[in-house]
């Protein structure tokens, strides 16, 4: 954290992440909350960049801001109009409890870790991650990919109407 650019970038991104994160639960409209959530995802990606984690930052943008948010958009679109507000429900108490628990856990972890490692120059992480994924952790990687393949095939099976169903439907018409 020598260069002033990094310091400015860190405070901008942290402020943006916290501010938009607050607005996510203050916004009354669910789609506004979703827009703020996307901004908070993007600023989290910026925070990862200041921490020299370039691959994680790109994965954050690609998966969270690009895909998960679109999934949420479709989920909101397919829910009835009545449940599209972001108001308080009975889930606010367990939600607050879970958030507080996670914050306490991460806080203790952060206080317990010694952060006094020497500041090193930026090196790319993508080679390291690639070698680990296809070397040491290849089993976990393969299990995850098989799981995703199952999910894909399952989704296709769910939406597919078999040819006999289709013929019956046409006969009914």
């Amino acid at each position: 954290m020598d260069s002033p650019g990094i310091v400015i970038g860190f405070y901008m991104m942290a402020g943006l992440a916290l501010g938009s994160g607050t607005l996510v639960f203050l916004a009354r409209n669910l789609l506004h909350a979703l827009a703020f959530l996307v901004i908070s995802f993007l600023s989290m990606a910026g925070l990862f960049l200041t921490l020299s984690a370039d691959f994680i930052a790109m994965a954050q943008i690609l998966i969270y801001a690009g895909s998960i948010s679109v999934l949420m958009v479709f989920a909101v679109m397919l829910t009835p109009l009545a449940s599209r507000d972001n108001g308080n429900t009975i889930y606010v108490l367990p939600g607050l409890l879970a958030a507080g628990g996670i914050a306490t856990f991460v806080g203790f972890l952060a206080l317990d870790t010694s952060w006094s490692g020497p500041a090193t120059d930026f090196t790319t992480t993508i080679d390291l991650i690639g070698n680990l994924l296809l070397g040491k952790y290849v089993l976990a990687f393969e299990i995850a990919s098989v799981l995703l393949l199952f999910a894909l095939i399952g989704a296709i099976m769910l939406v597919q109407t078999s040819s006999s169903d289709q013929e019956e439907g046409e006969a009914d018409d």
Binding site: D2, S3, P4, G5, N29, L31, H32, A35, V38, D54, F55, A57, M58, A59, I61, L62, A65, G66, S67, S69, V70, V73, T124, T125, I126
Partner: protein
């Protein structure tokens, strides 16, 4: 002009009377011709002098070496570091100046293109359709875009009642974020790249996936069913076509062994080959999928004027609609730059880049790819939505994935096999072209095994209405 050549219409008379540029130049008065030839000789002599400087190597790395604008930034950095400034101020300046210079460069590329791009596109399409195009405002109609922009700005902005006012104002600006951010990793010369990220390819894919959200917001906030329908069509199309883009870029990464855009360009220049020759199907898939991703004809399903008014920006008026139209052009040259970097050798041109500035070569390639886009737009009709999705899911994705596996095998052979480049790369190119053609043929046979393509069925509506006979009956 011979007797049987008829110049009946004003149009054909205009064409017949049209003189070429050479004729018009030779018809200029004598003094101007002399001046022009003196200028030409001076230009040629200055080129020879520059050529001497380049060969002798006196120019390499100097700040006035405009073959690479990065040289100026590097020497400026050296001046700042050597000066007797406070180290904090010096590091701030060394950070701030290149950042602002690069950002200004990118924004001026996009902004400058938005000023002249619509004119270029309209003139080109007019040439394709044998008409003149905008030629009244200013010389050659160059000020037409400015006039259009002024007109759009004067228009009243109509906000539909019931529109979500917060989300309504964000999208016209938000759609420009990917169009500008995407320029960051593109190398214009060896030292001239705004942010030469190690994860450049991932950055490109991640940035292109952000455009979906702006489109959705525009469709949703308008409080109009047609807008929402257009947004949904666009989102479905963009999500589908992200997969062929990613798979074809994966083939590029497999062959070059790097996700850094500058190293992809260097690999192509070191091996003396463009990737489009090695993996032609991936290049074609990238080109076609990009036209879908940026909403250009033949894939402009999102704003298909003849079907759903203007798609997701139906309810936008004035300059807001203008921004949505402008972002299409900005995206077109961005895709041109990405296409040239990934598949057409980027700023290199088989050694020409030591003579001509690399950014000029890249700009020429961008222009050529853009011309291809305009050509496609002027000649091909629009796909239907289901045809477009079927094309992505049933054809592009399976064939791309199969060929990507082939590329993976080839690249692992390439790094282990010690033969001259032209032999191994030539073999790879040959294998890839034949396998792409064969796979396409076989896969299409499998897909259309139940369809008799020799006698295409009549469209259902025509069949049910009785076709021409019914029209005759109706007319009486």
């Amino acid at each position: 002009m011979s007797e049987n050549t008829r110049s009946a219409t004003p149009m054909s008379r205009q064409i017949a009377e049209h003189h070429s540029l050479l004729d018009r130049t030779l018809a200029l008065p004598r003094p101007i011709l002399v001046m022009l030839s003196v200028l030409l000789v001076g230009f040629a002599m200055s080129q020879i002098a520059i050529g001497y400087l380049v060969i002798s190597g006196q120019l390499d790395g100097k700040w006035y070496d405009i073959r690479d604008l990065g040289n100026a930034m590097i020497s400026l950095d050296g001046v700042i570091q050597n000066s007797e400034m406070d180290s904090r101020i010096a590091s701030t300046l060394a950070y701030l100046i290149p950042t602002l210079a690069g950002a200004t460069g990118i924004v001026s590329i996009v902004g400058g293109w938005l000023l002249i791009g619509p004119w270029v596109e309209r003139r080109l399409i007019a040439k394709f359709q044998i008409r003149q195009g905008p030629n009244r405002t200013g010389p050659f109609g160059l000020l037409q875009t400015l006039a259009d922009a002024l007109k759009l700005m004067q228009k009243e902005i109509i906000i539909p009642s019931g529109a979500d006012r917060f989300l309504y104002f964000v999208p016209p600006v938000a759609v420009f974020i990917p169009a500008i951010l995407g320029w960051a990793p593109i190398p214009w010369s060896p030292k001239m790249s705004y942010a030469d990220l190690d994860v450049g390819v991932l950055f490109v894919i991640a940035i292109s996936s952000l455009g979906v959200l702006a489109v959705f917001m525009a469709g949703w906030a308008s409080n109009n069913h047609y807008s929402l329908l257009g947004a949904m069509r666009t989102i479905a199309m963009m999500i589908s076509y992200e997969i062929p883009i990613s798979v074809s870029l994966l083939a590029v990464v497999l062959l070059t062994g790097s996700t850094k855009l500058s190293e992809i360009v260097l690999w192509q220049s070191e091996h003396g080959v463009w990737l489009v020759m090695l993996i032609p199907f991936a290049a074609l898939a990238f080109l076609f999928a990009s036209t879908a991703e940026i909403n250009r004809t033949p894939n402009d399903i999102g704003e298909a004027e003849s079907e759903i008014v203007a798609g997701f920006y139906t309810e936008y008026s004035g300059m807001k609609a203008g921004l949505f139209m402008g972002v299409e052009l900005a995206n077109a040259i961005l895709v041109g730059a990405l296409m040239s970097t990934f598949f057409l050798g980027g700023y290199t041109m088989f050694g020409l880049e030591t003579w001509i500035p690399g950014y000029l070569i890249l700009a020429t390639k961008i222009g050529l790819v853009y011309f291809l886009f305009v050509w496609i737009r002027a000649t091909l009709p629009r796909f239907r939505l289901d045809q477009l999705m079927g094309f992505a899911w049933k054809f592009l994705i399976p064939v791309s994935i199969a060929l990507m596996f082939l590329t993976a095998i080839e690249s692992s052979i390439l790094v282990r096999w010690d033969v001259p480049n032209f032999l191994s790369l030539g073999l790879i190119g040959l294998v890839n072209i034949t396998s792409a053609a064969g796979l396409t043929f076989v896969w299409l046979r499998v897909l259309f095994r139940d369809t008799d393509l020799s006698t295409p069925p009549a469209p259902i509506l025509t069949r049910e209405m009785g076709g021409l006979q019914a029209a005759k009956v109706l007319r009486g």
